[in-house]
Amino acid sequence: MKKLLMASTAVIGLTGAAHAEDVTLGVILGFTGPIESLTPAMADAAEFAMTEVSESGLFLDGSTVTPVRADSTCVDAAAATAAAERLITSDGVNGIVGADCSGVTGAILSNVAVPNGAVMISPSATSPALTTAEDDGLFFRTAPSDARQGKIMADILMEDGISSVALTYTNNDYGQGLADAFQSAFEAAGGTVTLSAAHEDGKADYSAEVGALASAGGDRLVVAGYVDQGGAGIVRAALDTGAFDTFHFPDGMIGDQLTANFGDEIEGSTGQAPGTDSEGAAMFADAVGDAFDASSTYTSESYDAAALILLAMQAAGSTDPAAYKEMVETVANAPGEQIFPGELAKGLEILAGGGDIDYVGASAVELVDGGESAGNYRQIVIEGGEMATVGFR
């Protein structure tokens, strides 16, 4: 015990002597709640980036980074706000990676981050409402807003020469948000949505919904639902009644189950799902190795969120949020040397030398619209009963 105490005192003494500053970053994710199965890997990914930066020894004259975890619960705004408050007032964090779910992210942003002037980068909040939230330039996200997906859907359909569609969505925040985003983007591009009808998941019979959609008409049916839920029922009913022959599927419908269920019956249908052809994803998996599951959802975005905060601090030469918030977009976007996962040391070195970098990271980050990821989508066409990737956007 005595030895241990002495050793730790020695370590603390050493760090104090050798390093200019000890930077702490808050990692606020829903370690309990609906996405508790995803968050451990997300937090590991964010901390992986911090370790990489600390070990390089190049960060702000040799500063180290210490993560502090907090629980956002994903659904309880009051608990998340209290946890974030604790991070800032008691732990004195210099920046926050998080939160995860859109609802609690909005609550933390307006109740804690903005009043205290703390920078937040969320790896997974996708609600379009966060784009317009009052953030004083403090909020960024490495996950794309569903508004982006809506815009990309509209683009794909327009380029296919489809100007009139019927739209059905699963009756929850995801479905409704995506449907609204798509409808406004599609109508702005000159298209017509003949009918936008909600469907409930978990029902066996969708003939009423399909009847109404068929009567409204349209060149294609957009199904913003889930592939193993009501979305599949809608497609089945539409095919059986001959109401629609081709469909457009957003991310919730893209899965192996889609072609297993319908095969070549949906020939010529289109869709898109998150995905990138950037080499960053593979490099991220290599760098992580067996440390945690790098293919788990939103791990690349979490790594990128932590890396962006630290690179922005390096670029600003300061850990003061008011100073480095201006640099987040600068390091994330062109021009400059492209930085991939595992190359954070190179990025830090360039920035220390006054150079410019374009952080690509694991999820091909490109910040637009006041600091959110442009999002990368894989464009899909059903050919010969298989999903074929025809391009990336």
């Binding site: 029902k203 066996a204 009644t241």
Partner: protein, 336 residues
């Protein structure tokens, strides 16, 4: 020609689906109404019993498929149906012996039996999930269509078409056969007559020497057959998922009550009333009207009375209206 097109659109999107759905509800409601009429309680376990019997039938279907037995163009599940009925009948008689008989001998009030049936419902709920899991099971095989929309269009040369799925045809035909058999049984056979007598006046029936345990047993056997047929037809036509069957309880009860609880004829009428109102009231009539009305008169909007979100509200509104103005239902069942 335009009128023909409009009729065909109507057939494809309203008549055919509503007819099949109505037939499924009607067979389900027949089971509920028989239990209400003879055993005198609302059986809340009905939906989950349907799920159980369908589960057993699916297991037999898979077994038949694995040994290569099939029914030609018809679904293999029809072959497995008798086995499903037999095992469901055993389960129901067992439940009656273990659970319901006790309360019957206590002469428990109907409301207590309703709560008891909810208990049975939860047990069945768990049983089904233990056996087959919570996911979707698709067990339909054989020919999917009698004719498809496209085939009809090519054959008739019309702009619009309609298709009929094999399962839809089987559903309607089976429903007709089942209903005919049931009515023949209730009206012509000795056992059927004793069941009706028991339903009309229990004390008089007992005085005239009818064995109540025998009536109860026959009722459970018939209900087992009805639930299995309703469950399997629904699963074949749509897909099987335990939770969906649980939710079916609501429209089935609505159908039985609208028709008049305890009245078999009412159950059938109620099934079709609920099915047709769900589909027609939320249907967008634009396409039908565009064909049917002369130029210049066609609607520019969708001509939809109510958004499809309100589909389930429709059956309950009908239920409320019927209960307000005819508490015994359309066909003079027992009042609830």
């Amino acid at each position: 020609m335009d009128l023909l097109n409009s009729l065909i659109v109507l057939t494809n999107f309203v008549l055919v689906p509503a007819l099949a759905y109505g037939a499924q509800l009607a067979i389900g409601a027949l089971g509920v109404t028989l239990i209400y009429g003879i055993l005198r309680f609302s059986n809340f376990a009905h939906g989950d019993t349907m799920a159980f019997s369908t589960t057993i039938t699916i297991l037999f279907t898979w077994w038949f498929q694995s040994i290569g037995a099939n029914f030609g163009p018809l679904p293999t599940a029809l072959l497995a149906l008798p086995f499903g009925i037999a095992i469901t009948a055993l389960l129901m008689l067992g439940t009656d012996r273990i659970v319901y008989r006790f309360y019957r001998q206590q002469k428990a009030k109907p409301v207590i039996l309703v709560i008891v049936s909810m208990g049975v419902m939860f047990v069945m709920n768990g049983l089904v999930r233990f056996i087959i899991g919570v996911g979707d099971q698709n067990f339909a095989d054989g020919e999917r269509f009698i004719f498809t929309v496209r085939e009809f269009r090519d054959w008739s040369g019309l702009e619009e078409g309609f298709g009929i799925r094999t399962t839809q045809a089987i559903t309607v035909i089976t429903a007709v056969i089942v209903v005919a058999l049931l009515f023949w049984f209730l009206n012509k056979t000795r056992t059927g007559k004793s069941m009706r007598a028991f339903s009309d006046n229990e004390d008089l029936a007992l005085l005239s020497g009818i064995n109540p345990e025998r009536v109860v047993m026959v009722t459970w056997l018939i209900v087992a057959a009805l639930t299995t047929i309703a469950g399997v037809l629904y699963g074949l036509d749509k897909s099987f998922k335990p939770f969906t069957y649980f939710q079916l309880l609501l429209p089935i009860f609505a159908a039985a009550i609208v028709g008049g609880l305890g009245s078999p004829l009412g159950a059938i009428a109620g099934g079709f009333v609920i099915a047709f109102s769900e589909v027609t009231i939320t249907y967008a009539w634009k396409k039908v009207l565009v064909y049917a009305l002369p130029d210049g008169l066609e609607p520019s909007g969708l001509a939809q009375l109510m958004s499809t979100d309100y589909k389930f509200a429709v059956s309950f509104v009908i239920l409320i209206i019927v209960l307000l103005f005819r508490p015994t239902g359309l066909f003079k069942g027992q009042s609830v």
